[in-house]
């Protein structure tokens, strides 16, 4: 039930942000709070159709890409090969931390090197496929493409530093 715990935690933190901002808005007494509600609602209305597709796509990703296969694929990889494979494996994990961390943990226990594991976590965090539907829906194709090109080398660098230093 870790997933539920995380959701509740996220809810509490986010609500706190909202409350702080909202109370400042209300104190202004210039209609800021109403404007903010309208603006947030308008933004949501704009992206809702895309967001619906994003959730379907996200569910399909999880159905089509077997997490077990990723685990087998990595086995006990280490070294430079492990870093590259780790990055690709991380990228192809289709879900949130409650999906990725257990897989990564299993790969780690199976004897994968620290470089592989670090590349795996970073690859999932920075390049993970699961975030793409939401990014495309809200930020558009241009931003998403540029962001992916910019981020792509970092998981490999992370794995390589961990491999060389440790």
């Amino acid at each position: 039930m870790r997933e539920v715990g995380i959701m509740i935690e996220a809810m509490v933190v986010l609500s706190l942000f909202a409350l702080i901002l909202l109370s400042i808005a209300v104190k202004r007494k210039d209609g800021s709070s109403k404007k903010a509600l309208r603006s947030g609602f308008g933004m949501m209305k704009g992206v809702i159709p895309l967001l619906l597709f994003a959730f379907i796509l996200s569910g399909m990703l999880q159905a089509a890409i077997p997490a077990e296969l990723i685990k087998q694929w990595l086995g006990s990889e280490a070294g430079l090969r492990g870093i590259i494979i780790g990055t690709l494996a991380g990228t192809s994990i289709p879900g949130g931390p409650y999906i990725s961390f257990p897989i990564i943990s299993a790969v780690h226990d199976a004897g994968a090197g620290i470089g592989t594991v670090v590349a795996f976590v970073t690859g999932w965090a920075m390049m993970g496929l699961g975030k793409l539907p939401f990014e495309l829906a809200i930020m558009g194709t241009r931003f998403t493409l540029v962001r992916m090109l910019l981020f792509a080398v970092f998981p490999v660098i992370a794995g390589w530093i961990a491999y060389v230093v440790l």
């Binding site: 609500s15 909202a18 947030g40 959730f55 399909m60 780690h108 829906a137 241009r142 540029v146 230093v165």
Partner: protein, 182 residues
């Protein structure tokens, strides 16, 4: 917008086909159900995320954005963007609306990229879970190794993307539709 919708529909269709070949119609339905359940589960979070996004757009004045997150802010904007990203909880359906609201309000592209990179690798709310599941050694190593990434990403984005920044921003604005009323 139409192109993105079409693209996502095609991708979902292809994945459904792949799921069908892997596990028949039941796996396809499982995927649909998974997406639907996820949407139901995160709806409250989604609502608050858009509320926060709206509040940011209205509350954060142009002067503030310009001074702290925009072009004139320079490296300061990159650091602040990263710090904000590290504090945002929840999944991409929370962080991207907030990133979009900063970007639409005039934050520089490096600030927004640093925000997303920090959400990815600093994420304060995710650390306890990483600690619990991957152990101290992996978590600390991973965190230290990626510590400077959001800053580097932000600086690189500002250097490399200055020319295309407005084109990218316009697409984000267009997608948000009526979200910006100024």
């Amino acid at each position: 917008m139409k192109k993105i919708t079409t693209g996502m529909a095609v991708a979902a269709g292809l994945l459904a086909l792949l799921a069908y070949f892997r596990g028949g119609i039941s796996l396809v339905l499982e995927g649909l159900q998974g997406g639907g359940l996820m949407l139901l589960k995160v709806t409250p979070l989604l609502l608050i995320a858009f509320l926060v996004a709206g509040l940011i757009q209205v509350m954060v004045s142009h002067e503030f954005i310009k001074k702290w997150l925009g072009k004139e802010a320079g490296i300061k904007g990159v650091f602040l963007g990263a710090l904000a990203g590290a504090m945002v909880p929840g999944g991409p359906y929370v962080s991207y609306p907030i990133a979009a609201s900063f970007f639409i309000s005039g934050a520089e592209i490096g600030t927004v990229m640093a925000f997303i990179a920090a959400k990815n690798v600093w994420s304060f709310t995710r650390l306890p879970m990483e600690f619990a599941l991957l152990g101290a050694h992996v978590t600390v190593t991973r965190f230290l190794v990626t510590l400077v990434f959001p800053i580097i990403v932000g600086i690189l984005a500002n250097l490399l993307l200055a020319g295309t920044e407005e084109k990218i921003r316009n697409q984000v604005k267009e997608l948000a539709g009526g979200g910006h009323n100024d």
